[in-house]
Amino acid sequence: MVGPLIPMGVIPEAWNNVIALFLGVGFGFSLEASGFSSSRKIMGTFFGYDFVVLRVFFTAAVTAMTGIIYFDYMGWMDMSILYINPYYVMSAIVGGIIMGLGFAFGGFCPGTSFTGVAIGKIDAMFFTAGLFIGVFVFSELYPLFEGLYNNQNLGGVKIYELLGMRQNIFAFLLIVAAVGMFYGAGFVEKKVKKVEY
């Protein structure tokens, strides 16, 4: 069966939302079981006392990337029809910086805050409430942001195209960088004073 299955018509579109629910369960379970329902555990990555976010995030990214490249190479999935977010140069950077500030205040990102909500963390509920307010504020003030939001659209460009590299070379370097970071993280954790939480 050549994927992606739903866009290729192998699985009927009607199943999409049912499948979404199941994939969401897997997503939520992996996040919570790894410790992402705790803001203090998440923040350990930035202070060096617990690098769980770095490890889980980069392992997940590299696993999924490798699977996609391999399936595409074997002809089991057509990578070229996968959805790629368009790259709006400034908007992506400004958005990321604002989210980073939100991270430093809140200790969660949206996905992790939902798992916090699921197990009863009241701080995660406040964070989630903040998300709704933030989206509302952005939408209401959209005319002010519109210029920046739509500026410099490069379309669904891949990082290696932008850097003028070959896909597999970039992927390989990314894996090497991830392993290097895992090694460095273990080293830093040993040096930094433990934080009880």
Binding site: G3, P4, I6, N16, L21, G24, V25, G26, F27, F29, S30, E32, A33, R40, M43, F51, V56, F57, T59, A60, A61, T63, A64, I68, I84, N85, P86, Y87, S91, A92, I93, G95, M99, G100, G102, F105, G106, G107, F108, G111, F114, I119, G120, I122, D123, F127, G130, L131, F132, G134, V135, F136, V137, F138, S139, Y142, P143, G156, K158, L162
Partner: protein
């Protein structure tokens, strides 16, 4: 095999967690052709609520109206179902490892009240930032990295770089 602790302190190995999450993400691309997400579900809900409360206002607004079409409600959105799944999956894991408890988690150096205000402010900023970046840590950064999208990798670096910088500025909230 040692007995699994159910006092809430047990977490799976982070590399195992990463592989599980990576397989879920891979499966999502293989089945649906798109990645995972989180903030998109919040956006759909906000659009639906505003449209129900003030339909002319939402149609006049250039942002809401992007996501409103005649035949489908924005609530009828893939990510909304996925996020319902996230809540279920998080609850299952919390039940399994004994972590279900109503509490405000915060550093001993700050009060609960201060933690809740900071959490609300953090959520608000994340809500705004995720609209600019067209996705959050899940939809833009993680899913984007899996397909090597420029937007995903740039957003990921901006989020983590900025979070690292600001965490040290607002260090007192955490350590």
């Amino acid at each position: 095999m040692e007995k699994m602790k159910r006092d809430g302190t047990f977490y799976i190995n982070p590399y195992l967690g990463g592989v599980l999450l990576g397989l879920v993400l891979f499966g999502t691309y293989y089945i649906t052709g798109r990645g995972l997400g989180a903030s998109g579900a919040v956006k759909s809900t906000v659009v639906t609520v505003v449209h129900a409360a003030a339909p002319t206002h939402s149609l006049d607004n250039k942002y809401y109206s992007k996501f409103l079409s005649e035949d489908s409600s924005p609530m009828n959105n893939w990510l909304v179902f996925e996020v319902i799944g996230v809540l279920v999956g998080g609850f299952l894991s919390g039940t399994l490892y004994g972590r279900l408890k109503f509490k405000v988690e915060h550093s001993p150096k700050i009060t609960s009240r201060r933690r809740l205000i900071a959490a609300l402010a953090g959520g608000l900023l994340f809500g705004i930032g995720s609209q600019f970046a067209r996705g959050c840590t899940s939809g833009a950064a993680l899913s984007g990295m899996a397909v090597l999208s420029a937007s995903g990798i740039v957003t990921m670096m901006a989020i983590f770089g900025s979070a690292y910088f600001f965490s040290w500025i607002f260090k007192k909230l955490w350590i």
